[in-house]
């Protein structure tokens, strides 16, 4: 495998009394599809949010594409980055939320072009053409002018994936992308994600879909109480887990 795109080293995070992450270390390599599984409250979503800095880490560090996130080393001390610098670092990641979070006052197409036009300063016509291409890719070209409220949950989530891809990120983060969907809509979102994985995109997916993890993931990481219990090849972790906690979790969800 190639160099790590994400290097997480000894990251801890506490919310008040609750320790969400306990000295977590993890590598994600270019083109890798990594699924994070575990019970709710195990820290997998927090870990994902730390990578695009919606949550800041308390200690430890995350390097994305060789660059330390949120901090700058100078004269043997660490300095916090400015909000502008953090915004620039965020452009390397695309985030897909559990509750879609599409902009309700903008059409599907406008949702996708918003970032490229407003943040990256790209030409409106170019951004529109690329957004249409992305909508075709997620199978929603006919819904370009629909508002989010006119779309089903599965359609909204596919637009949200297109919106994240429009920024041309090097890493896609998925935070339980199918948990808020009606069961019959899960498949359409997963198939878009499978296509994305096949195209070579590096992906970190927090999910409860063990079937998806088995089929698509290169690596599966099982987390419990803020720590990584077991990680390895998807077939090994899901097929022949070494740890008793992993076994009992898997037997509960399958």
């Amino acid at each position: 495998m190639t160099r790590p795109i994400v290097a997480i080293r000894s990251v801890s995070k506490t919310f008040g009394e609750f320790q969400a992450l306990k000295r977590v270390s993890l590598d994600v390599r270019e083109g890798e599809v990594l699924c994070l599984i575990g019970a709710s409250g195990s820290g997998k979503t927090t870990l994902l949010r730390c990578i695009n800095q919606l949550t800041s880490v308390d200690s430890g560090g995350i390097w994305l594409d060789g660059e330390l996130l949120g901090l700058r080393e100078q004269g043997g001390r660490l300095h916090r980055l400015t909000p502008q610098q953090i915004a620039r670092q965020r452009l390397k990641t695309g985030m897909v939320f559990q509750r879609f979070n599409l902009f309700p006052h903008k059409t599907a197409l406008e949702n996708i072009t918003e970032g490229p036009v407003q943040v990256q300063g790209r030409k409106r016509e170019d951004a529109r053409a690329e957004a249409m291409e992305l909508l075709r890719r997620v199978g929603l070209a006919a819904k370009a002018d629909a508002y989010p409220a006119q779309l089903s949950g599965g359609q909204q989530q596919r637009v949200a994936i297109a919106r994240a891809l429009a920024m041309k990120p090097m890493l896609m983060l998925f935070d339980e992308p199918t948990s808020a969907l009606d069961p019959e809509l899960v498949g359409e979102v997963l198939s878009v994600m499978k296509e994305l994985a096949r195209s070579g995109m590096t992906m970190m997916v927090v999910t409860h879909e063990v079937g998806f993890a088995r089929e698509v993931a290169d690596t599966v990481v099982y987390m419990d109480h803020g720590a990584i219990v077991e990680s390895g090849l998807a077939a090994d972790v899901l097929g022949a887990p070494r740890e008793a906690r992993t076994r009992s979790f898997l037997s509960a969800v399958i």
Partner: protein, 285 residues
């Protein structure tokens, strides 16, 4: 196939029958009572000491029309000042910077905590505190020349309105789901851009009904500027009745114009609401 036709289980077939209209006799009774009361009030006024001819004569008098024009100019400008200030102060109030938060809270506390008429009088009488105002070495002028009734009224009404509008705006911004701000951040937007492009447009939908309320309040609040000689409609009506003693007639004239303006504003507000309901129409119905 007659009425004797029955459905499975012996139930009668009611699909061809019509539903009889309800009588609503209580509604007719209350309506009649209200008409009687209104007629009595109308009759009392018709027979009272009101020279309706004067009302008609002054309704469209030049001074009155100028007055209502001045009222509208002041209401629109002061509301514009209030909205701009309100947005800025609401953004400051919600900022992570404690200095900005305190300044915003202090402004709201001061301008909401004192009567509007007192603030108008203070601005108008600023010359008593500072005989000359200006920037040292660059520009200066006598305060009495600068603080005209127009400027005093604009500052007094606008700054006061800003304090109220900031709270309306803050409520609107808080009503937008936190996930919207996160989604904006995730596509690389900074705080101000996210507010301008994503949060404020969604807040507007919530904010327009209370803002319409505030604007109607502002139209009427301009009448307070009569105490500092701003020639709005009530001030001009007063000037006329000081001369001809037709007090009630001219108050009715002024009241008519306020009512007319407010009646026109209500449908305008509905148009604005529709404009900002983009993407939510089918939910609002």
């Amino acid at each position: 196939m007659t009425a004797a036709h029955t459905l499975a289980g012996g139930f009668p077939d009611i699909s061809k029958m019509t539903v009889a209209r309800q009588a609503h006799w209580r509604r007719w009774l209350t309506a009649a009572a209200i008409v009687v009361v209104l007629a009595a009030i109308g009759r009392a006024f018709a027979g009272g000491q009101i020279e309706w001819a004067y009302v008609g004569r002054f309704l469209a008098a030049k001074v009155i029309l100028e007055g209502i024009a001045n009222t509208m100019v002041m209401a629109v400008l002061a509301m514009a000042v209030g909205i701009v200030l309100g947005v800025v102060v609401a953004i400051m109030r919600l900022s992570p910077n404690p200095v900005l938060t305190s300044v915003a809270a202090g402004y709201t506390w001061l301008f909401r905590g004192t009567p509007l008429i007192l603030q108008l009088l203070l601005w108008f009488n600023l010359a008593l505190v500072f005989p000359t105002i200006g920037i040292p070495g660059l520009w200066s002028a006598r305060a009495v020349d600068v603080m005209t009734p127009f400027l005093s009224a604009l500052l007094g009404l606008g700054l006061n309105q800003g304090a109220y509008t900031s709270e309306v705006m803050r409520a609107g911004m808080l009503s937008v789901d936190a996930g919207q701000y996160e989604a904006a951040q995730a596509i690389g937007m900074g705080r101000l851009r996210a507010l301008r492009r994503i949060i404020l447009p969604q807040a507007m939908r919530v904010v327009i009904p209370p803002l319409g309320n505030e604007f109607i309040g502002m139209v009427k609040a301009t009448s307070l500027a009569s105490v500092i000689q701003y020639p709005e409609v009530l001030h001009n009506a007063e000037n006329i009745y000081y001369a001809n003693s037709r007090v009630i007639e001219l108050l009715i004239v002024a009241g008519f114009w306020y009512l007319l303006v407010v009646s026109i504003l209500t449908p305008l507000q509905m148009l604005l609401e529709r404009r900002f309901a983009r993407g939510a129409l089918q939910l609002a119905r």
